[in-house]
């Protein structure tokens, strides 16, 4: 992939704001920068997919991957497929959230959480076969574990027939980032003599653990070893 592809220059740098992505709150800093959305999507591999099934909202955790060139989010999930069959034109919501810490203020009222979150809205396409299914599976696999698509055995026709993905266009999204210390140092609460600050929370991969059934002598491949100690997406 060339760093200077011509079509890079026609990608919008900011998200259009819609009624449901307009930011209403204060401390949660809303962003419309595409770069902020992409950073949040890169830093995780599990989303929460919201669909309506039989009239009830369902929030299903599932893996995802992003094709940043076509700006397509691919989501795995059988519950999702059920909702699409029921309502092919219905919008779904995919949320990706990273929790960065507890914000402990002087007053309970000012307590909060530092986080980065993206809520993507789209009418998804159900992908059940063809080149796009294979492409989407590659995107999801590589998003979770870069290098794994070329290492593992790829899906055969029987497996592809048992697999479906949702494809969502990354056009409408609400991006929020809350960061930094509590903000009640000023005013009377700052005089209470109470400790205030942030307790950071971090997610890290540990060292790869071989399947106990693995024959002796098969080494951890470099792309898997590289995950150990790092965060998803890094």
């Amino acid at each position: 992939m060339d760093a200077e592809r011509p079509d890079q220059h026609i990608q919008p740098t900011h998200l259009a704001v819609t009624e449901r992505t307009r930011h209403r709150r204060l401390r949660d800093q809303g962003s419309t920068r595409v770069a902020d959305l992409d950073a949040i999507l890169r830093a995780g591999f599990v989303c929460h997919l919201g669909v309506v099934v039989d009239g009830t909202p369902m929030v299903v955790p599932t893996v995802y991957g992003v094709d940043f060139e076509s700006r397509t989010l691919f989501v795995h999930g059988s519950v999702a497929s059920r909702s699409i069959v029921q309502a092919p034109d219905a919008t779904v919501c995919v949320s990706v959230t990273h929790i960065d810490g507890l914000v402990l203020a002087r007053s309970v009222f000012e307590h909060g959480v530092n986080y980065r979150s993206a809520m993507v809205y789209a009418v998804p396409r159900l992908i059940t076969g063809g080149d796009e299914l294979l492409h989407g599976l590659r995107v999801v696999t590589e998003h979770c574990t870069p290098g794994q698509w070329d290492y593992a055995r790829r899906p055969n026709s029987r497996e592809l027939a048992a697999t479906s993905l949702l494809a969502l266009s990354l056009e409408e999204a609400s991006v929020k980032v809350a960061a930094g210390p509590p903000d009640d140092a000023d005013g009377p609460d700052g005089e209470l003599g109470l400790w205030a600050g942030v307790v950071p929370l971090r997610s890290r991969f540990g060292a790869p653990e071989a399947d106990p059934a693995l024959p002796v002598g098969i080494a951890v491949p470099a792309h898997v070893a590289a995950l150990g100690g790092g965060s998803p997406g890094n």
Copy 2:
């Protein structure tokens, strides 16, 4: 709290199964044990709340707390309140998910994620005042940071008037746990000579970081220092 409260013996030990909590899939191990649900709820403090607003599902990350005696889940969130005002009798879905690792199999098809997840369904009550609001705020505060309710300044009447919670009964829930190595060691894929196993993912609190505006000489309180290095809920 006595370990042997008489009413403990009338709490059900298993969840009733409904059409939407019946488990349909294989590797994701469904559980109906109340103890498994409770362990998942204890191990986190941010949920994803699914509501329908103006006909669209929204998946909103927000903090929660659990009163295990009354089996009530308290959820924070202004979007939630909007959905309740629109549809007071509507069911919502609250999902709590912990990602424990990437499961790297020999074949892409057998790849997966180790996780623990609870999806709670209920018609929530909107709590906007009175003793129950104060109780709910205490539950949420103590769930996130045990000891903090007695340490920080509690909400005054003006702050309480600006706060609302949802209360959900913990009666209907779908609990799933996927754990362990990939299961494609048997069969032809086991002969491919490929590495397979799990890359664990862990969330840990770091050392507390004082608000830069904190006056010199205010020590980190013991209940906050105790979080450092541990996981939420431990």
